[in-house]
């Protein structure tokens, strides 16, 4: 089977370099997506479900750490970073690998050797990864986006300021995002993938590539068949599909 790869890197030349080096050192891999920021990386990950993600740590939108946190054990993550040894010592203890920028061929080859060995094994439970991410977040400050409390959205000809706590769920509508509240719904011009980073992941669960639901608004999750589930929302008749990636959220 051909391994699939996602690359997320905000600097164009660094992107090109990593692409060229990968083509040279790992010709059998197929790069399914090259993202320029964290939001696109996570969205693209959900779309393509690649086996490996090369993530820059410092990116616009979701940081590499936040994307890795969401990916969890669904793929092998390799961080690409300009942080020096002291900050990345922790990687050695963890399940993931890291590459220092600018990436050099020999180092990439070593990382790829490790990666291929990992891909041959069954996936780990991601506990070590969680530990590592917690450490990195404290070691690398200023990486988190500010959470927004309010969202400005147009409703008909009005612009409303919506308290995010009152939102039942967000649903992606191509380049727009539909925001559903108890009494009305609104459209914002921001794509859902870009809103995601400004929402607290503890209170707003992503249950599908196109759906984020307020935990407080969840009435129940029901099984449709062995693989599929749907979420019933308080104060709304809509049933929201849970994609396979997120079914684990509702396991007892």
């Amino acid at each position: 089977m051909q391994p699939t790869v996602l690359i997320a890197e905000d600097e164009p030349l660094m992107r090109e370099r990593l692409l060229e080096l990968l083509a040279q050192c790992w010709p059998e891999a197929r790069v399914v997506l090259v993202a320029e920021n964290g939001n696109d990386a996570w969205d693209g990950f959900l779309e393509h479900e690649p086996d490996v993600a090369f993530l820059d740590i410092r990116m616009p939108g979701l940081s590499g750490l936040e994307v890795a946190e969401r990916i969890g054990s669904m793929a092998q993550v390799v961080f690409v970073t300009a942080y020096d040894q002291y900050a990345v010592d922790a990687f050695d203890a963890g399940a993931v690998d890291y590459l220092l920028k600018p990436v050099q061929v020999e180092r990439l080859e070593r990382a790829l050797a490790r990666l291929k060995a990992k891909l041959a094994q069954p996936p780990s439970d991601g506990a070590a990864m969680g530990e590592l991410l917690r450490y990195l977040k404290t070691a690398l400050p200023g990486m988190r986006q500010e959470r927004s409390k309010w969202i400005k959205a147009s409703v008909g000809r009005q612009v409303r300021v919506i308290d995010v706590d009152e939102v039942l769920f967000f649903q992606s509508d191509t380049r727009y995002t539909r925001i559903v509240l108890r009494d009305y719904e609104a459209l914002v011009r921001t794509p859902l993938k870009d809103l995601l980073g400004t929402l607290d992941p503890e209170r707003f669960w992503q249950i599908h590539r196109a759906t984020v639901v307020n935990v407080n608004a969840i009435l129940a999750a029901e099984r449709i068949d062995a693989e599929r589930m749907q979420v019933l929302v308080k104060g709304s008749a809509e049933k929201l599909a849970v994609s396979r990636t997120f079914v684990h959220l509702f396991r007892e």
Binding site: D10, E11, P12, L13, M14, E16, R17, E20, N37, N39, R58, P60, G61, A82, Y83, D84, L100, K101, P102, V103, P141, G142, Q145, E146, D194
Partner: protein, 404 residues
């Protein structure tokens, strides 16, 4: 008896020296006179306390006895001279009198020398004590004389002469004590001023060195240098002519930074040059996400400003404004003469104020450094203000500037 006395003295002497060295030990002294004395010592200001400690250590043991003997000899000689000057006083009387005045005078001078603060501070109290002593002395003398049957009429004349003698004695002791106290106070104030000035100068020098060190650290930050070298490597591998251009800009930038590190003031033209090479480097790296413009009026080119300030603001605009913005933005750097002042503005169209990051772990944000440096150079006459640029952020530095 003698042994107990010497033991007591040695113990007290050691305790007293220990309190001078470590005033917090005063609380451990035995209650009563010794506690009271130790607390007085502990209350002395540090400098005087240390001077007294050095003095006490010098005049200790045999040396103290020799000094006392020498003083007794000097006073006795004074007494003999007094005897020859005024035949009415017997030579034994004169020697006793000279020693009786001399030793308290010596003790008073020593205490005034080291504890002048209290003497000046409580001068009214001391005056009252002196007057009280005079009164008590007079009453005692009057009582003794009355008891020994001196006639009442003769009492007045004798009392006046006793008072005169006492007053002369007080003056002989009091005047030198006051003079020494005032002199020592002046001396110590001058020393305090000098010490304070030296401390301030040392602090300024250190802060300046620190701010320049931070500048150096910012330039060799792994993010900047390694990412830029990575870009150079990639361009060179592609054989792109832009590789040479990027290297050139990086060299310009590093060279100007070195110059900045060596000097404290730099012309606006030079600083704009530094910022331009930095922005060109960043533009190659960030691609379309960064656009920039520089506006420096010719008339302001030679205006001097402290190094590091402008670059720090531009770096901040890139780091916290453009880099985190999904679609990037434009950075505009401009200088404008206002009335009596110069405004340097860095505007970015990035993510703006609401997402200003937390201060970094090490040494605070660049903005704090800028504020600090402005304060070091201009005091309150300069300022750094941030406004919402909508989108992005505007940073304004105002520095004093006399128009030519």
């Amino acid at each position: 008896m003698w042994r107990r006395l010497t033991n007591w003295y040695r113990e007290w002497d050691e305790e007293y020296l220990a309190v001078l060295a470590q005033p917090e030990l005063a609380a451990q002294a035995p209650a009563g006179f010794r506690r009271c004395f130790a607390e007085k010592m502990a209350q002395m200001p540090l400098v005087q306390r240390q001077q007294l400690l050095a003095f006490s250590l010098k005049y200790r043991g045999a040396r103290l006895y020799w000094t006392l003997a020498a003083l007794a000899l000097v006073f006795s000689v004074c007494g003999v001279i007094l005897h020859f000057c005024s035949e009415s006083i017997g030579w034994l009387h004169a020697i006793v009198l000279a020693n009786a005045i001399g030793f308290p005078l010596a003790a008073a001078v020593v205490s005034a020398w080291f504890d002048y603060r209290r003497i000046i501070h409580d001068s009214r109290k001391h005056l009252l004590i002196i007057l009280g002593c005079l009164l008590a002395q007079t009453l005692v003398v009057a009582g003794v004389m009355w008891a020994s049957g001196t006639p009442f009429e003769a009492l007045g004349g004798r009392l006046v002469s006793v008072l005169k003698g006492a007053a002369v004695g007080m003056l002989v002791v009091g005047v030198p004590v006051m003079i020494i106290s005032v002199m020592r106070k002046r001396q110590s104030e001058a020393m305090n001023v000098r010490l304070q000035r030296e401390a301030e100068q040392a602090k300024m020098a250190r802060e300046l060195a620190e701010s320049q060190l931070r500048l150096l650290r910012a330039q060799i930050e792994p993010h900047f240098l390694f990412n830029t070298l990575g870009a150079v490597q990639q361009l060179a591998q592609q054989g792109a002519p832009r590789a040479a251009e990027l290297t050139g800009n990086l060299i310009d930038f590093l060279r100007s930074s070195m110059r900045d590190m060596r000097s404290e003031q730099v012309s606006l033209a030079a600083e704009f040059g530094l910022v331009e090479s930095y922005l060109k480097v960043m533009q190659v790296r960030l691609g379309e996400r960064l656009r920039f413009g520089l506006q420096l009026p010719r008339a302001l080119e030679q205006v001097q400003l402290p190094t590091m300030i402008l670059l720090t603001l531009v770096e901040n605009a890139i780091k916290h404004g453009i880099e985190p913005a999904l679609r990037g933005g434009e950075v505009t750097v401009s200088a404008q003469a206002l009335e009596g002042a110069l405004r340097i503005r860095v505007q970015d169209g990035g993510v703006g104020m609401s997402t200003l990051p937390e201060p970094d772990g090490g040494g605070g944000t660049g903005l704090e450094n800028v504020r600090h440096r402005l304060r070091l150079v201009y005091g309150d006459a300069a300022s750094l203000r941030l406004h919402d640029g909508d989108p992005g952020l505007i940073a304004d530095v105002i520095i004093p500037h006399a128009q030519a």
